[in-house]
Amino acid sequence: MKRQIELGIVIAVALLSRALPAQEAQVDGSPRYRLLQVVELSTVQEKVNEIAAEGYRLVGAVPAPGGTWATIMEKVEAPSKPCKYLLLARKGERDFQGQINEAASQGFRLLPRNLAQGRTQPPQFDVAWMEKPAVPPAATQYLLIPFGAKMAAKASLNPALWAETNPLHYIRPQINAALQQGYKIERIVSGAVVVMEKSSGGVGEGGGSTSQASDPDPLSRYHTLGNYRAGRLRKRLQQEALGGYHLLDFAPYAPKMWTAAVLEKDGSDPSASNAVKYQYTAFASNLPKLEKDLNSHAAAGFRLFPQSLLGAFQPQARPDKPPRCRVVMEKAPEVLGQCQYRVLAAARLSDLSADLEKAAGEGFRALGIVSFDHSLAVVLEKSGMENRK
């Protein structure tokens, strides 16, 4: 009898131990992150809106291994005020700008960090995520200025541009006209398009700076850097920062010899002793050592410039080496304290569920997703010591 009881206990323990893994997924009914890895773009939008209705906001979306799209959403709002999302995909030569502006007229705004996450390399501006927050934003208009091969071919016919090394200057008249109308540069999809945005508070509409409207060449306020290697990029960014410029956008997948970084001049005089000065660092890394690299620079007060670590990094020429990425980090003058970074990687996004919840419990917040060849990585930041002036 005693042996039968022992046997029964052992079997019960064995069966229970099989059942346990199924129970560990959720502690409560509302996880901090919801993950999505599906095939069809239409399904992505549908699911994202379903999840948004539960009080989540889109953090990042990238093309992922296996022909899928990976998306991460973070719980931030009460379900009574959900955001809505619209995923616009360019089809042929249709009026993409018109589609974007039509959605903008309904209260949607472009999510600039999730532009141009298409599968092509370098990414074309073929996918645009738009968000309609619970509180409708100011009326917004968008302008897409072609910045690709056709534009370059056209510019090559103009002898005045033959000596020009900055491709952004090929479209100087269009950009200047837009800047004078109150648009600002929102994102550069190098080799494809410059995305400009104007909100109702822009020039000529009761707000914003009027200096651009009166400036005959407002593009002169912007500097650009080419697609340099990490060491040279770091030096050039530092030089520009000393000259009173700060990084506005960075396109990690810019084609060779094309614009990768856009910098904007600060209002202050760079020669003044109290001038606001940014500092920059740039380095090459790969997935296995990314977290360590980020944290070593974060210890010196730098913070990840998020646009530099978005999208999909493809394998390089040598297949035995993991895909490399260039990371740009920024030290803004008004930020004190240091950040911490965590990089969670797996082949499937669902494998990160538990680690993400654990990291969230430790105070980390997801910045976005990066796709490295056959792996997906979620980059998280903890800025507990941050103290903005």
Partner: protein
């Protein structure tokens, strides 16, 4: 024979049983070595989260616990059937689809379908025949099956292609395993086609003086004929046709509606609108016998 009943044999057998019970759950991928019952279907894995290359041949098996994709040279990939939230199918080139058919599918197979409040969203498994390809004859016949499921905090999907002979049996087996009913929108459309034809006599003529959005489509100002198909108490499907005639091939849009008793105020406007987020939508259509309310 004597040995079989000896105490040493009994001790040995007991020890083996104990070891087996303890070791069973500790074995890695214990689920992976379970015997898979059911007929295998030949398929080509196209995309998704399965850990093998795309366009590889796989065997698909379905049992009470899982849908399994098994390539020849690597481990199989299992999807728990009780986690499946959506199965959709895409029949490419089986026959040309009309614009009207596409509008019908968009009207009822969008995110609103299956989630209409009275129905409840739940974990309804829907089979959709997306026959919305260009309306010209195609020779190829691709039967694509997409399976979505939710495990923990993650929604995932796999997409594979099966042969025309395997298609129906696989879907039937999947329905059996999930225990959830599904709709084949291909046959649904044929039924609706017949119903609209027979209900043409009770069409509702409406005149729109502005652009309105119904479902996923905008209706331009002008005359429309609407045909109501009552599905259950206080609920129906409303189909819009432009002009003065009900021409099934000119279907503009279709949507779910609530059916309420006729308004007491007979003099009220036949069509009322509402504005939301800068978009005009229909609110109600008043008829002598009933009122149609839009969700």
């Amino acid at each position: 024979m004597k040995f079989l009943h000896s105490s040493s044999h009994r001790r040995l057998m007991r020890g083996v049983m104990l070891l087996a019970c303890i070791a069973m759950p500790l074995l890695p991928e214990a689920k992976g070595v379970e015997k898979v019952s059911g007929k295998p279907w030949q398929a080509v894995y196209l995309a998704g989260v399965a850990p093998f290359p795309r366009n590889v041949n796989v065997q698909v098996t379905i049992d009470a616990e899982s849908l399994r994709l098994a390539p020849r040279k690597t481990d199989s990939f299992a999807v728990p059937v009780n986690s499946i939230t959506l199965v959709s199918t895409n029949v490419k080139g089986s026959h040309p689809a009309s614009r009207a058919e596409w509008r019908f599918l968009e009207g009822f197979m969008s995110y609103a379908a299956g989630c209409y409040p009275p129905q409840g969203c739940g974990a309804v498994v829907m089979f959709t025949s997306f026959l919305m390809l260009a309306s010209y004859p195609m020779k190829s016949h691709d039967y694509l099956v997409s399976v979505s499921w939710r495990e923990g905090t993650a929604d995932e999907e796999v997409l594979f292609r099966v042969g025309p002979k395997d298609y129906a049996t696989l879907l039937a087996e999947l329905e059996k395993a999930t225990g959830k009913k599904w709709k084949n929108m291909d046959t649904e459309w044929a039924k609706v086609h017949q119903e609209i034809t027979s209900q043409q006599g009770s069409k509702i003529s409406i005149q729109l003086d502005r652009k309105v959005r119904v479902g996923k489509f905008d209706l331009k100002p002008g005359a429309y004929q609407a045909v109501l198909l009552e599905r259950e108490a206080q609920r129906g499907e409303l189909y819009f046709f432009p002009g003065e005639q009900v021409n099934i091939e000119h279907l503009t849009t279709a949507t779910w509606v609530e059916i309420a008793p006729a308004a007491a105020d007979a003099a009220s406007a036949p069509v009322t609108f509402r504005e939301k987020d800068g978009t005009t939508t229909l609110d109600e259509i008043h008829m002598p016998s009933l009122t149609v309310r839009f969700p």
